[in-house]
Symmetry: D2
């Protein structure tokens, strides 16, 4: 006799508030033998919207996800749900874009290698050659796409970048200190799947050189913000933020160094939540069903 | 025509894991027209125990809680649940015990007065007279029960304390820097309803004078721990903890001063979670369904 | 035989960088028998400015400060110093201005009463009557100066406020959530002696209703900033900042409540540093010789 | 004409308290044209001990340090000083010992490579082979010294380790998660020059498996402690500590992962302070003249 294979899946959904949503969904799952391991529900009273995330174990191997999707669709339609099912054990494909700063990239590739984070990296794209050896040491393809300053050259570079991304078939795109504007049409194509790390406590110090701005203003804390990229630069839904203390003798260079730890921790926390389907976007804000 | 009265209730429960718990409970609620505003479920895989907390709006006024309790009992029995229903808008009765340090008491009474925390205080009990005027300024009865050092006198004082507590019919008891041992038989009587604030980051510095111990050891952070009181001194389930940074020039007196803020914040966070039924005790640990 | 009286004084100074400043000043102090208990020196390399703070014990009672000032002046002049001597044990006169929120005021008055902070409060001024009973319970005069909306009425109110302040002869003025613009001419009169608490992590959310702005933006941390008031609203030199974590279910009302602890801690830390002469203003920034 | 070469040096000293220490030392420096860039003095009133650290620019190249040492010695002797002069721009030789966990080692080697930390690593010693490729990728010699369990084998391994260390002529030794007892005679030989990172908030959870202990106790924060290694295991002078928040669903494995960031930050902060001569040991505590 063979043990039936078991899968751990996640259902993430939002829909207009009404009575019985949890009952309907949980009954659907129970009827199929699903054992809930962790779940959260939250109703936003202003917009009358209901948000939920359920993680559950269910009998069935490779085909169970598609089967469940087909079976759930009528109920989801009836409840007017924005929803997805995900396999907790499948690894997302994450394309990373970088420029010259290597700390966020090095941090994530190292954490991934030792098993602290689970995702695949089909490729890394950069507008500089600097980080090629680091990336290739991890056995990951490195695409160098320089971005000229003239509009036509820039446009061509963006299109090439978009093509490489497209061929990599990413689930998620991470801008790990990519110092180029990510064009609106690309944001739109991968809506709420492009994650950026901004090296300030947004909305403070939007735009370029936030540590320089921080030094000029004389703040006593510096920060980092992980957010989804949208058309509005540095204004997308915030996933995670944190800060670190600085003093009067810390120069811009010191801040850059001290900021690296905050950036690493904030980006990896944010990316982890995203990969575990814990982030639900609601207008310009996020619902975070954190562990 | 009259609008039906609406209540916000909470169902908190734990039970052995099995398939369909959420479905059964959520269906029970939906059938009675309950609209879930916030809910959490968590399965502890080691002990195969399921924990859940649901907050919901339901039609019905004063009698709805008792009615629902009666109706839910058969299902709870079947699922072998340890459970309770609570009215989110009813105010718990919180008896406070203090000695000479007034900061935690002053903080909570002030927060309560301005509407930041919602609970009633039938009385404050102290083994000193020092804080009478503060307490009475808030219009709260103050019971002075000195605790002598001789065993018989101490026993008599404890019994008198227990009697005052009993007459106050508390839902919760807070030891807001009460420098006397709370006897095991009283802990047992109000199991997981007696909350203590210990002025260290437990398990560091158990017992007396933790700031003095912290100075001797030369730690760089001091902390505070809010926990349920059990037979084992300073070893009960931890609800909340936090720390504050200190330096080499901070004396024990400085630590006492700096520690006050941490104690206040940790105790008030812990008490708030407790009052909102967000803390589920599991063995010697807590499940915290924090907001 | 009588023990000579001893005083603890502080010398705070800044001057153009040159070789031998510490040697000259320390020799001046040593020649007068001063025993340094804590001292800090810092050279800002960009502006070539030298900053120093020395705390020392010296024989001599009430007259020693004035005597030392007279003796130090020639050296200070020679070194082109911006300087002051202060008695560590004299209590500063701190006038407080408030509107309706009482937490910062209540916190400081309580901390002062129990001996955690040492300063005198000649009076509290408010544009509302709400906090009179609290203030008078502490035995402190309360001045109610309503501020009308029409320009003339507002101007008259400001002048009355200025007059009350002037008569109180304050060393320091604290705006403990005073919801009125403090006029430039008053800032100028008490330059770097007016301290404000802003309920955001500046430069985020300048101006009115920062918690409301924070909710709209969906930040994951809220903050507070203690700064000197200058002509530019919310743009003066920052003394201290800190943050607290919030979540998606926290409303503006929750933020206001959670923010109170941060505001209290940040304002009291900032005021303490100011009262201990640990804050040296340098352009629009502060040098903080923290303990 | 040639610009005279300039050096940045540091003088770190402690001595019995007496009047005029700063005057004597600062005058000594001024007479030699030293320009102080940053300095701190602190008197411990209990032990009547004076601590100081001065960083200064002075004309002179390679020979200036030895010259100044010779000239300062008579004054230091007279003041009964425990002192040292250090060249701020010379790189310390740091030998690192590791076992199997690579995060602290990887973090420091990466930070060193990109220029965030300045020190040399003559070699890495490990009782396992696991981290050889990582270390050799950085061009650093890797010594594999297995430590058997039998007393004689262990003793031989320790002696071999001691010999390798000795030949490397280290200024500082870092135990970057080295899971072997560092023998008292080696601690003694490199007193206050051996730095350990312990993965708990000491004195909580001394000894083995602190994250496991933390999970059993149900704490809400985990921590890390950077300290000098002394004879007493996990009881040496603490240099730096910090904590991170955990929740009820975090397993020991999660804590290990979350703890890595705290360990990295705490160890690198502690090591940086040590390398910048900001840590003065006083009995079993440290004076930290932090930036």
């Amino acid at each position: 006799m063979k043990m039936p294979e078991q899968s751990r899946l996640r259902l993430i959904a939002s829909c207009p508030e009404r009575i019985g949503i949890v009952a309907r969904v949980a009954t659907f799952l129970a009827e199929r033998g699903a054992s809930i391991t962790e779940a959260n529900q939250y109703q936003d009273s202003k917009s009358q919207t209901f948000f939920m995330r359920s993680e559950f174990d269910i009998d069935g191997g490779a085909g169970i996800l598609a089967k469940l999707e087909a079976e759930f669709k009528p109920l989801a339609d009836e409840l007017q749900m924005d929803w997805r099912l995900a396999d907790a054990n499948s690894r997302q494909r994450v394309v990373m874009l970088v420029s010259k700063f290597d700390h966020c990239l090095a941090y994530m590739l190292h954490r991934r290698k030792v098993g602290d984070m689970a995702f695949d990296v089909p490729c890394v794209i950069s507008n500089h050659e600097d980080l090629r050896s680091l990336v290739e040491w991890y056995g990951i393809p490195y695409h160098y796409v320089p971005v000229p300053k003239d509009p036509e050259g820039k446009q061509a570079a963006l299109e090439k970048t978009a093509q490489i991304i497209s061929e990599a078939q990413p689930d998620t795109i991470v801008l790990a200190r990519y110092m180029q504007i990510f064009p609106p049409w690309l944001c739109e194509r991968y809506l709420h799947r492009v994650i950026n790390i901004h090296h300030s406590f947004l909305p403070s110090f939007v735009g370029a050189k936030p540590y320089h701005q921080a030094e000029v203003r004389g703040v006593k804390l510096i920060g980092a913000t992980c957010h989804y990229v949208t058309e509005d630069l540095d204004a997308g839904p915030i996933i995670e933020q944190d800060v670190a203390r600085i003093g009067h003798s810390d120069t811009t260079k010191d801040m850059i160094r001290l900021g690296k730890d905050v950036e690493n921790v904030v980006l990896s926390r944010g990316l982890r939540c995203h990969l575990e389907d814990r982030v639900l976007v609601h207008g310009n804000k996020t619902i975070l069903f954190s562990k």
